[in-house]
Amino acid sequence: MSALKKITLTINGKKKEFEVAPHEKLVKLLRRAGYKGTKEGCDEGTCGACTVIMDGKAVFSCITFAFLADGRDIQTIEGMGDFDKPHPLQSALVEEGAVQCGYCIPGTILSAEALMKEIPEPTDEDIRTHMDGNFCRCTGYEKIWVALRKVIAEKKSSKP
């Protein structure tokens, strides 16, 4: 057995210490720490269900070694909003019927959040490029796009 080593992560703004095995992936650590909104899907860096934001960039937590996240900021779906106070992205996805089984949605929201933090008013090309790692097998993507465009349009119209 490999020895456990200490790492520190800042998850949704809170600094936490963990003991990790060298081979442990970030998704396993997050889920055992209670952040179960992070979904395990393909477990091979394809489907996007496990997407979290690390230092501002969307990453697949299923193939990210936990030790490589040491000292970094992690944002999970738990940091986005909740049932009473949903994040605008969450509201838009619900309103546009973009959530069916819902399994891909935490990852989809985090990819969209990372995109909009980096590019506040993304073009369709930006959306296509930045959302290319989030599979949805229910909606055919159209409703997800409608919801994202709605959030972008609302941002534009609310500008002073």
Binding site: S2, P22, V59, D132
Partner: protein, 281 residues
């Protein structure tokens, strides 16, 4: 590979000392994304190379120097006259992968579907390896088979140097996949230098659909010194690639992959030609 321990050196010197001590049991890790494609029976001690100052893109005279631990997203989002790797990076896997994977990781071990070896062969890149002395290895030598053979314990891929393209030069790139983030079926890249309506020099490379990424000298020879146009490039690709061995895969025959490769090479050449002539970028 299964990671049994990890080290987090803070300098290149420290990292090299650790890798030297570990020998074949040590593995430099930056993004770590390609380990999913390796066997877990193979145990390695990871050496995290993210804190060695190996990140970033610098323009040095008529070259770009790219740190080996530079994330693909940085290549994707770099836009500057003479820079072409944004066009390669944006078509690689998905944004989450591009945010983690590095240029060094894409080339230090060549996976059959890897795109950057093809682009770097066409560009005539030089790989900078830090050993007891720093040495530059030209792409033709680096990619003649798996690069691991060129590394002693403690050697580390530190940077990649590529030309900054100027007037009269163009780079073309064509990657064929089944789905947008699928593995490449064929990747083709070409760099041309033009003189009026004539091809002055050419470097053409293919990967993915062939056993190992390689230059296609017969295509290059067929166009150098000749007038360039789309039909000439199609003819050169068809004739010059007839002798290459292609791999079947993804329910596609060797013949089909071979045809796809000809089309991809002709497309890359046409794009390189158009850009070298000052056409739309």
């Amino acid at each position: 590979m299964r990671i049994t321990d990890f080290h987090r050196p803070g300098s290149l010197q420290e990292a090299r000392a650790i890798l030297k001590r570990l020998g074949p049991g040590g593995l430099p890790v930056a993004g770590g994304t390609s380990l999913v494609f390796t066997s877990e029976k193979d145990e390695k001690v990871a050496v995290d190379i993210n804190r060695l100052g190996l990140e970033g893109i610098r323009r040095v005279n008529d070259e770009f120097h790219i740190g080996a631990a530079t994330r693909l997203v940085a290549l994707q989002k770099h836009h500057e006259a003479g820079w072409v790797l944004d066009r390669v990076a944006v078509h690689l896997a998905s944004q989450q992968i591009r945010n983690m994977s590095t240029l060094g990781g894409n080339i230090a071990r060549v996976f059959p579907w890897a795109d950057f070896p093809v682009a770097l062969l066409a560009l005539g890149a030089v790989m900078v390896v830090m050993g007891d002395a720093e040495r530059g290895i030209p792409a033709d030598e680096f990619f003649s088979s798996q690069p691991a053979r060129l590394f002693q314990s403690g050697d580390l891929l530190a940077a990649v140097k590529i030309p900054a393209l100027g007037a009269g030069q163009g780079f073309g790139y064509s990657k064929q996949t089944q789905t947008s983030m699928g593995f490449s079926l064929v990747t083709a890249a070409a760099m041309l230098e033009v003189d009026g309506s004539t091809v002055k020099s050419a470097r053409v490379a293919v990967g993915a659909g062939v056993p190992f990424p390689c230059r296609v000298a017969a295509v290059e020879q067929a166009i150098i010194g000749k007038r360039g146009n789309e039909q000439a490039f199609k003819d050169a690709a068809a004739a010059g690639m007839a002798g290459l061995k292609f791999k079947s895969g993804a329910d596609m025959s060797e013949e089909f992959i071979g045809h796809l490769a000809q089309v991809a090479v002709a497309d890359a050449l046409t794009e390189a030609w158009t850009l070298a002539k000052g056409g739309p970028s």
